[in-house]
Symmetry: D2
């Protein structure tokens, strides 16, 4: 039974004058953050600021690279990018954040792929493999954050990377461990206390109840929470509070006893 | 009397399907290159390719950061960027190239600012200072390539950076060491043998004849040559040949005896 | 004594997933809007939506072109753009909105230049002239919205354009009719009732009290109000209410009796 | 038997300092051009220049809209764009060119979708329908250039547009009228005289020999030629010369006797 868990969230998703979500509020809730690197969102200032803030607060800093798609926020599937280009695209984004982190005495602990790049890397090994290779080349000590058992999990292991497996607090699961499509009813859990309950069970028992009512064993050391709306932040806060009330510590995955 | 000199050139100035100049030809001529980093030109693939090629050929690799101005090729003066943003903009670009270099076993030796960013940093200490700080933060062992005595030279020294001072093979100088404005007659030397002659004198005597006919002492360990047209490449080749005929070795500035 | 006035505001300043300001709230307040055209902000969907909404509500639709500077929100002064390119840049943006307007049975009535492009065109005739020519070439029936007497006002008149002169509800004026620099105390009027009072006097008397206490005659048929914060919207609402209470009608400048 | 034919080519594919192909050479060969509109290539200056040149030379001007994908040159398939956004994306690009054309006394006669947008619209009616609606809304008198019988042909007809059906001089056909995939041998015809021969037969007999040797009836009033390499230009010139030698006039499709 785990006595600690990591909470992660995607931050730094503004661009220039544009902001998205309340990063400062989320920095009080999570123990690791995934920072957009300028291709689908994010810019050097936002990245530098989050490098500094995560350093100050002892939060694990990760890169959140995405497709070159600012207008579509990296959510559009783009086909026809050669594997070598995908690799370089990811290395570029990680490297930019690494240098900005270094300039604030911070360093990266992980990478989580954003949006369509992330989704495709879950199921398509031809996307997952260059993603994993890119992370390894940028720094072999970085962990890749992925869904347990997905293509990216497999590719990361093959590439020699550590994997920080993650679960979602607010998403329903199918019996095979995949996420229920957002198009189906019940895919998203919007009740904060129900979501918190699921997270507690996940941490304490390592299981989650699937959409069909079965018990699924889920190996996850980090729980993804969202900060893109006041309601999302309220849910994340509620999850944090419930975890603390249960005596479960929220700590960066890099500081978990069984990580190294 | 110097027995070796560095020749540098700006490469990697394409973007996606677009190319500019003949990088491969220049790699046979120069001993150090400055690679565009994706803001005014360049993309991850081009950067990775040049990291690999310079590694193979023993050429010093530098970052060539510029303003976020792909359409204007970084040549437009953009006002109103806070110093902290300038710093982050430059760190971001250097970091991206650092990671791509690392992925090919290569590392950066220097930075040269591009276009309007470079020009402004020559004369404006409010641009030069954040540029120098950015380079230092990205890696204190990087050299900044600048004109001798300009604002960037001063700022780099203040920031604790080494400076690789450069001269232009094809530009006329004023008596005070500044470049003759391109708008004036005689500003650009287009005759390859005249340009080569100037470079020889610069290397052997450390002087250049100014536009008024005076002899100017010029402290330069790297000569900037261009590759953006067949004529420019021919001139660069001619300079290299003349230097070799004079027994002057073309070597990365990092390998000069008096560098470290 | 005028019995009607136009209220205008800059809308459509989002991009993709990013939003800025509350456009829908402002559509209930203003009688004409200036829509960003995709270079410093705005995108085809936002533009199309505002074309449709302004058509439905009888609001005058204008283009709000800016520099190619999404990251700097068009607020950065960019030097080195030839006059012919400035012209084409503005025609391009106007044309894009014209077609989207047409697709909703709407048409453009005016153009107001955004941010640094607007500021430069106020004082620099080398920017104002190509701006005015661009508007004329895109459609000679378009009005240019400008400060009274500025370079753009002069250039528009020379180009054969009608000018919709504007005043600011929340900005202090110097005795010469220029705006007090935002860097000086008292430059911005933040009290809604004081701002409303100024607008009433401007409409009824055609004057505004300057920062030195003098009475300035100001020829303005449209008042610029802002919607980029809840406080700005509250002020705009307050101005509208005060005008209505005084029996002053808020009507698109194109429908003013003395317009044609 | 046709006594005239249109030759079309995609021009204006540069961006800022970048150029692609030799537009000026192609303007001496073709009778209609399709101009990139700034999303996958092209910029306001290039568009304005081609508006002016086509006006001077009596060449039909068309818009060549593409996905927002400058780095991928519009060749990448991007999924997840709603139909309404696709429509606005295309209207925006057409509108920009319409205004620039107007500023040179020129007007648009047609639209041809570029790259991945064009390919998807050939086979996918969910892409073809918004494309056709966009063209109609931008101007119902514009023709859509498409492959005969493809989804875009059907959608254009349904939308009330005229269709300028096109054939490729350098591409092999399957028996069903589709193009042989570039991945298969024999897909591209590189011999200029063979290509010219095919065009002659197409114009004179309305047929083309398919890859299996069958005779395919092909209804085409415009032949697409390329200008992106010296070899492509040489082939286009050779086709033009052969057509002229056969007494076949090269004329914009809008001036064909049977067009209106």
């Amino acid at each position: 039974m785990a006595d600690c868990i990591d909470l992660n969230s995607d931050l730094g998703e503004g661009f220039g004058k544009y902001t998205l979500g309340d990063d400062e509020a989320m920095l009080d809730i999570v123990s690791s953050v995934n920072v957009a690197c300028g291709f689908h969102a994010g810019d050097p200032d936002i990245m530098a600021h989050l490098a500094e803030r995560t350093k100050q607060k002892g939060i694990a800093l990760g890169a959140h690279p995405g497709f070159r798609d600012l207008h579509g926020f990296g959510r559009r599937e783009i086909y026809g990018i050669p594997a070598s280009e995908l690799e370089n695209l990811v290395i570029y984004q990680i490297g930019a954040l690494q240098a900005l982190a270094r300039s604030h005495g911070q360093q990266l602990s992980h990478v989580r792929a954003h949006g369509a790049l992330g989704n495709l890397s879950d199921s398509d090994s031809e996307i997952a493999a260059p993603l994993a290779r890119a992370v390894y080349k940028a720094d072999p000590h970085l962990a890749l954050m992925t869904l347990p058992g997905c293509s990216a999990d497999v590719a990361a292991t093959e590439a020699g990377l550590k994997v920080a497996r993650q679960a979602f607090a607010d998403r329903a699961y199918n019996d095979d461990g995949s996420l229920v499509s957002r198009r189906l009813e019940g895919a998203v859990i919007s009740d904060p206390s129900a979501a918190a309950e699921r997270v507690i069970r996940l941490v304490q028992e390592g299981t989650v109840k699937t959409i069909t009512g079965n018990k699924l064993i889920l190996d996850a050391r980090t729980i993804c929470v969202h900060g893109d709306s006041p309601a999302a932040i309220a849910m994340a806060e509620s999850i944090r509070t419930r975890l603390e009330n249960e005596g479960i510590e929220i700590r960066p995955f890099t500081e978990h006893d069984d990580w190294n």
